[in-house]
């Protein structure tokens, strides 16, 4: 009788293991579903989205936006997050992935819609260009530098650091020396 119970419990245990662990996938499927998993070998980049400058210019901000859900108290919309760098990823691709995965609102103008030939970010988290004065809008830097061209044209390399920052003064308040906006 004891043996029976033992055998049964062994079988149940095996069933439990099977139910828990069965995930039979082809190699392609595995890569597809694990493309964003960070492993030891994967190339990654970091991204953060901040709007600190608005905190100093609250008087210029649209009244409808003066809530914590739009402008967090610490100015951080997305803290520094690591993402796997896929082949050919641009700054825009990473931003788009980050806002989608974190359910952050974003609106952009497609690269065919303007004359820069690049995607133009109009708003993130309901904060748009001109939401905080006539010189306000979104800018990005990579490894601390402001590239003077569109975010969908900037191809990333392993380990690079992207920061999206909101400026209220054409970049002067966020340390951009030469130009405002995301590219002339």
């Amino acid at each position: 009788m004891k043996k029976d119970i033992l055998a049964l419990s062994v079988i149940i245990l095996i069933i439990a293991v099977i139910i828990n662990g069965t995930n039979i996938q082809s190699v392609d499927e595995y890569y597809l579903t694990h493309i964003d998993d960070i492993t030891e070998n994967s190339e990654t980049v970091f991204i953060s989205i901040r709007c600190d400058t608005i905190l100093d210019n609250l008087e210029n901000l649209d009244e409808s936006l003066r809530y914590d859900e739009y402008v967090p108290k610490d100015g951080v919309i997305l803290p520094r997050t690591e993402y796997v760098l896929r082949e050919g990823d641009t700054v825009f691709d990473i931003l788009d992935r980050a806002v989608r995965y974190n359910r952050i609102q974003m609106e952009y103008q497609g690269s065919d819609q303007n004359s820069f030939g690049s995607v133009y970010i109009r708003g993130i988290n309901y904060l748009y260009e001109f939401s905080c004065g006539e010189l306000s809008g979104w800018m990005y830097k990579v490894d601390g530098e402001y590239p003077n061209y569109g975010c969908s044209k900037y191809k990333l390399k392993d380990g690079q650091e992207i920061e999206w920052v909101y400026t209220c003064d054409l970049g002067n308040d966020v340390g951009a020396k030469w130009l405002g906006g995301q590219g002339k």
Binding site: E29, T33, D36, N102, Q113, F116, E129, Y149, K184
Partner: protein
């Protein structure tokens, strides 16, 4: 066609009368050719004629050899033979023409021709062309003009080019390369593909109507009445309006041409021209008998038997006169007398020669040539058109100037060309000629630069015909989609404007359904779209069925939603440009007045005189745009008081002061190459904006010292950025960190800004309204008044009397206020008048503006053509957003078309197609938002979301391939779907395995138990056995 052959035959008769050869005892043959010895030949082909006669004056066979090889005639008749030489050897070529008479006497002529090879399409010289309507009293249709000859081009190809350049089309038989025969010259916008079995030539960029009122000279009438089998002086206006060619007026009418005085018997397509040739295309009413070309139409024929052998009268050779007229035009000479000789059909050769002499010796018009030297922009058009003005005042009507805007340009200049005096000025000829080439090239150059950009852009959007194809029109309503239509429209280049209007109106109506309408913050969305709608010929104050008023919503009433300047100074600048595009009136109850907007711009002037988005240093682009916006007020005497933000002080200024300071600032910023630098980068767009600003002010930018640096003009500065493919690059300074600044790649923004800058320049050169002034063109009468006033102002000096100044001031104030911005030099008049004590204010008050009639441009209904109907039938069963542009454009066209049978059916079909596409678009939008809200984050998606994911996936799969591409991050759908399917599969496999295991286990247990029971039973039996024992 038959007529041509017949007519060509007749040539013999004519010429035999003209050339009489002495009969001598020694009967050497007589040979005459149109070749000239020791000449340089640039084209690879040369056509020439040979006349060979024996002593009896009969035609004999001639032998033509090029470097020893016999050349066969391309035309041979009883009169003469034509040959086309084909040169292959560079350097000296020897052509011999020989003939032997009956007595064995041989004569040979030798010509040495130095051939220099030209590449196909290379310019190998210039021919003077004219198209003449003197036989019907309409002067020149095309005033004598020098036309470049390109290697390999036939005369027929040149003719079509010439007609197109002048706004007309031709209808012809054969092709421009072979057997070409010109049947008709017709209205430039003539749409018929064939007319009277003749096929239509290419169409002109700027079509012009064949605007003639025939008045057949009295001289001709008796001849025509006698010789014609059909003759009706009203025939053209009654039966053939817009098409002038064979069988109009008479049975013997049609187009003929002469080269260097002789009427060739080869067709236009077999004629290869050389440098210096004079080609006169003339309209004949009697097989050439009225123009000295009877022979050229052919031999004896029943139809021509009635014609006198040598024509109606002797016709002089007027080639030299044509050349002289062509040159005189550029010199601004009075050509009136020469034109009257030109129009006298039977003028004697002496009269003609005298007219040539007179014209060549006459001095150029002093006012015209001086106005070129001075840098006033209006005067440039004066020079280009002065000859045509005189032609107007003579009996000849002036439909002649080459530029497409000729009617505009020519009418402004009567005063100056009639005022010509006769100073002896021997050098005037040569200087005048250089002036002409310069003027021609600026407008032409601007146009050809613009064409290059369009060619490049067409390649960019994969279009072979019109730039605004479906792919392009999808962008309507965005920067990339709106500026090209503005540029094209202002250049008068034909394109798919109705398609653009259809799509933009639909898109505006859609966007107006959103609370932010076109944009929450950027008023410039309204401004750009309004300008594009205007350029396409639409009305921005009545968009779509809901009659949206972009001007009100985007300018004076924008403040009711949010400040016009919400996005900064740009909003005010472009708001003013949009508001002034048709000088729209601002209603009393508007949020902002016009002066509000003007002041908002002026108060943002920096201390250096310029303007910028931010900071205290002028930016060339913003400064130039501010000047563009303020330019209509340059002549305004209004003083504005405002607080200049940069100085924080109250100032009172006129717009003129602000603009002058801004121009000075711009002049200082211009670099050595003629271009500008903005935000640390030398670039083409800044230079474009400055040139556009100067054109808006009517300044002759390319001759203004303030804007020429190191010999480089703004145009030179712009051309530094031109790329081989015709497009323009943003900047040529290479920055390895910045791939978009690659100096060798054309860029859309650089292209669009240069395109409309060229439009601004081209318009200025042609005396048209400025780039952003979309009102109907000024009437000729008004232009004339303005030009006359400007010319008077240019003569003013310290010594001018009070009375003159007073009367000029009166003249100025009699010009309607809205047109005064077009008067250059007003401030010179103002300052002098005020200094002499003229009360300008009172003068202004006492004068009533003399309004001039404006031309009404009624919106004509269009036809919904067969090909449109076919396009409707060709729509696929299952519609996708790919057909959006097509359906929208067709529907727009149908709604604006004349009624026809079955129109309702088409309306129904298109409306339902439109609705279907809208619902597909709605599905795409909802799918995009569902994906965004339901598929993320990836980790949290589990089997429990299967229905959601499957639904999204299914909806995605039902879309057409084109629509699928509109789904953002579609790879994520596949990814999620795969993940869930995998998980589900795992679960199913696990369940099946578990069930199998469980069954096995139960089976095992049962078996074990069974065995045990059996064992126990056996044991019991055994036990029983043993107990029994």
């Amino acid at each position: 066609m038959i007529k041509k052959i017949i007519a060509v035959m007749l040539c013999i008769i004519c010429l035999s009368g003209v050339f009489e050869f002495p009969v001598s005892a020694v009967s050497y043959p007589e040979i005459r050719t149109t070749l000239i010895d020791n000449t340089v030949q640039l084209g690879s082909k040369k056509t020439f004629d040979v006349w060979a006669r024996n002593s009896a004056n009969e035609k004999i066979k001639a032998v033509v050899k090029l470097n020893g090889d016999i050349v066969k005639p391309v035309w041979d008749d009883s009169e003469k033979s034509s040959y086309t030489l084909l040169f292959t050897k560079e350097g000296e070529n020897i052509v011999t023409v020989s003939a032997s008479s009956d007595g064995g006497k041989k004569k040979e002529l030798t010509y040495h021709i130095n051939y220099r090879k030209a590449k196909p399409g290379e310019e190998i010289g210039k021919a003077v062309w004219s198209v003449e309507l003197f036989t019907i009293g309409c002067g020149f249709l095309v005033y004598p003009v020098e036309v470049p000859i390109y290697e390999g081009e036939t005369a027929a190809e040149q003719l079509i080019r010439l007609l197109n350049d002048n706004g007309y089309v031709g209808y012809y038989n054969g092709t421009p390369k072979s057997a070409f025969y010109l049947g008709y010259i017709a209205d430039g916008n003539s749409s018929a593909e064939t007319y009277d079995n003749y096929s239509k030539s290419t169409s002109p960029k700027t079509p012009k109507n064949l605007d003639i009122s025939p008045n057949i000279p009295k001289l001709l009438t008796p001849y025509l009445e006698e010789t014609s089998t059909y003759f009706d002086t009203e025939d053209y206006s009654k039966n053939s309006k817009g098409y002038l060619g064979e069988f109009v007026f008479t049975n013997g009418s049609g187009w003929m041409y002469s080269v260097n005085g002789s009427f060739p018997n080869v067709g236009f397509a077999d004629e290869y021209l050389s440098d210096g040739d004079v080609v006169r295309v003339q309209y004949t009413l009697a097989y050439g008998a009225d123009i000295g070309g009877l022979g050229a139409l052919g031999g004896v024929n029943a139809e021509t038997e009635n014609q006198p052998e040598s024509g109606f009268y002797t016709v002089a050779n007027k080639d030299e006169l044509c050349i002289a007229l062509c040159r005189a035009r550029s010199a601004g000479k009075n050509v009136q007398q020469a034109l009257s000789v030109m129009s006298t059909l039977n003028a004697s050769q002496t009269d003609v020669d005298n007219a040539v002499k007179l014209l060549n010796n006459a001095s150029s018009n002093p006012s015209a040539s001086s106005s070129v030297a001075s840098s006033s922009s209006a005067s440039t058009s004066t020079v280009a058109s002065s000859s045509s003005t005189s032609s107007k005042s003579s009996s000849v009507s002036s439909s002649s100037v080459t530029s497409s805007s000729s009617t505009v340009a020519s009418s402004s200049t009567v005063a100056s060309s009639n005022a010509s005096s006769s100073n002896p000025a021997s050098s005037s000829n040569s200087t005048a000629e250089t002036v002409e080439t310069e003027i021609v090239t600026t407008a032409d150059k601007a146009l050809s630069i613009a064409e290059g950009i369009i060619t490049w852009k067409k390649k960019d959007v994969n279009s072979e015909n019109e730039l605004m194809n479906s792919a392009f029109l999808e962008l309507a309503g965005s920067t990339a989609g709106d500026w090209y239509p503005i540029g094209l429209g202002r250049l008068g280049i034909e394109d798919n404007y109705s398609g653009y209007l259809a799509v933009i109106e639909d898109k505006i109506e859609e966007r107006y359904k959103l609370p932010s309408k076109l944009s929450s913050a950027k008023a410039t969305e309204w401004h750009r779209i309004a300008l594009a709608v205007l350029a396409a010929g639409g009305d921005p104050t009545k968009i779509g069925n809901s009659e949206i008023n972009l001007i009100a919503d985007g300018t004076y009433d924008r403040g009711k939603t949010t400040s016009l300047g919400r996005q900064g100074i740009n909003g005010w600048i472009w708001g003013l440009i949009a508001l002034d595009s048709k000088r729209y009136e601002v209603p009393e109850n508007a949020f902002n007045s016009r002066d509000d907007i003007i002041t908002e711009i002026m108060c943002r002037q920096l201390s250096d005189g310029g303007f910028a988005l931010s900071g205290n240093k002028a930016d060339p682009d913003i400064t130039a745009m501010a000047v563009q916006a303020l330019s209509p007020y340059y002549n305004s005497e209004e003083h504005y008081s405002y607080t200049q933000k940069a100085l924080k002080t109250e100032v009172t200024k006129t717009v003129r002061e602000v603009i002058d300071e801004a121009l000075e600032c711009l002049s200082e910023m211009q670099l050595e190459g003629g271009d500008f630098e903005s935000w640390g980068t030398q670039n083409v767009e800044s230079t474009d904006q400055v040139l556009t600003a100067l054109c808006c002010l009517g300044i002759d930018a390319l001759n203004d010292d303030r804007f020429i640096k190191n010999g480089n003009t703004l145009l030179d500065g712009i051309l530094r950025y031109q790329i081989n493919d015709g497009g323009f690059t943003h900047s040529f300074t290479y920055d390895p960190e910045n791939p978009t600044s690659t100096p060798n790649a054309s860029n859309s923004m650089a292209g669009e800004q240069t395109l409309y800058t060229m439009a601004a320049l081209w318009r200025q050169e042609n005396g048209m309204r400025t780039l952003y002034d979309f009102r109907a063109e000024q009437s000729g009468e008004l232009k004339q008044r303005i030009t006359a006033l400007e010319s008077e102002i240019s003569k003013l000096s310290e010594n001018t009397s009070f009375e003159t100044l007073q009367s000029l001031a009166e003249e100025y104030y009699s010009i309607p206020e809205s047109e005064r911005s077009y008067v250059n030099g007003f401030w010179k008049l103002y300052d002098l008048a005020v200094s002499k004590g003229v009360d300008m204010k009172k003068t202004a008050e006492n004068m009533t503006a003399i309004e001039s009639e404006t031309t009404n441009t009624d919106n004509e209904k269009t036809e919904f053509t067969e090909s449109d109907k076919r396009a409707v039938s060709a729509l696929p069963e299952k519609l996708s957003t790919e057909q959006y542009v097509t359906v929208t454009a067709l529907l727009y066209k149908l709604e604006n078309s004349n009624d026809f049978e079955g129109k309702d059916e088409y309306l129904k079909k298109l409306n339902s197609a439109k609705a279907e596409i809208s619902s597909v678009q709605a599905e795409i939008d909802s799918l995009n938002s569902d994906i965004l809200s339901r598929l993320y984050p990836f980790e949290s998606i589990t089997v429990f979301d299967k229905t959601t994911v499957d639904e999204i996936y299914m909806r995605y799969e039902t879309l057409s391939d084109y629509d699928k591409s509109k789904i953002e991050r579609r790879e994520d759908i596949v990814k999620t779907k795969t993940k869930i399917d995998n998980e589900l599969r795992g679960i199913i496999i696990a369940v099946i395995l578990s069930v199998i295991l469980l069954i096995t286990a139960i089976f095992l247990v049962v078996r074990i138990r069974k065995r045990r029971r059996r064992k126990a039973l056996e044991m019991e039996e055994l036990a029983e056995k043993y107990s029994d024992e």
